[in-house]
Amino acid sequence: MQQNCPCETAIALLKDIKRTPTSDLPQYDSEKIRLIFDEIIGLFDEVEQSKDERANPYKACGLLLNHQAILRNKRALLIYMNERINRLQRIRWETRSGVIPEQIRSNVSLVEENFFKCYDQNLSEYMSRIGLDLTADLEQPPKNLFVEVRVIKEYGEFVTESGNVVLLRLNTRHFLPRVEVEPLIKQGYLQHIG
């Protein structure tokens, strides 16, 4: 199935992913990707057929066009893949966990899931080698040692590093050290006030 203009599907694929905000990972578009690969194979067959007639300037032109179209499709595919793994990496940094969030799980292909696991492992190993958690304090330098938080999800008893036991009941407010509080905020148990 040859399209009117080669690489149309590729451009549509890229436009789709460009439209979604960079924090989201849309569905892996296997349909379009399959079409693009089919197109590449079709173009390649044409290239192979007309290779012998290179001397003919009309055929040579067509040959060049098909060849360039294949390369362009390849480039588009690589851009698409690259963009997706970049977003996956970003998710790893923002959620600070090696688990793909539920909403996105269905949008990720098997190969991408493997990549995510590999990246997570690589990153965790690196961070333990240098002895620093690089995903902490992503936005700004710490301003306060203690922060005021409200419990939005029942947690129960929480033991701080200094040995104090705090009972985190729903809707109570607490004044706790920032380092203890950060992971809990990320997981959704606490909410920062002020």
Partner: protein, 202 residues
Amino acid sequence: MDTTTQPTIDPISYLKQAWLREKFAPELFPFQQNLIFNIRNLIAKQETIISAKNLDFEKKFEVNLLQMEVDRINYLLREYFRIRLFKIQKYIFYIMKEQNQLNLLSQDELQFARKYFESVYQHFKETVTDQLPNTQKAKSLFEPDMIIEPNLDRFVFCKITEQVGEFQFDENENSSFYLNKNDILMLRYRAIRTLLIENKVE
């Protein structure tokens, strides 16, 4: 206040400078092995002081301040490592291709970079090139126009820290400027690159 806080001033400004360089320059700089090592030692020393003083209730305020200082320096340290890591990730194909780039990485970064490259290369191979026709050009992932290189022509702000005098930017033979100390300029990164290496600019 505390005699141990005095010696930390100089390495900290070096760390800050190194961090700012990595942050605003498009390219990667050599890993500051000694600087990082010194700073982490100083932090460790301060932390032992903190745990010692923590037992004394009257020193609570002092402990808080020391802890705060440690936290903020740790943040700088983390930022330095983070920015470098992101640069490594972004320019991974370029770094792997150019031999001299690998020298800028620390041993740990090198290990990370190699593994990262493997996983990205493998990913592209499985998703794209394995299903392409078997020609060399189609299969190659190292095409020069596809490798992301640091953009040395990006515009940056800089301040001259040492008197430079006549300086010729290499694009135009005719344009040479007189650069005084404390001048602030905005221009293409490539032009001030050599000055940066000579520490005349920040």
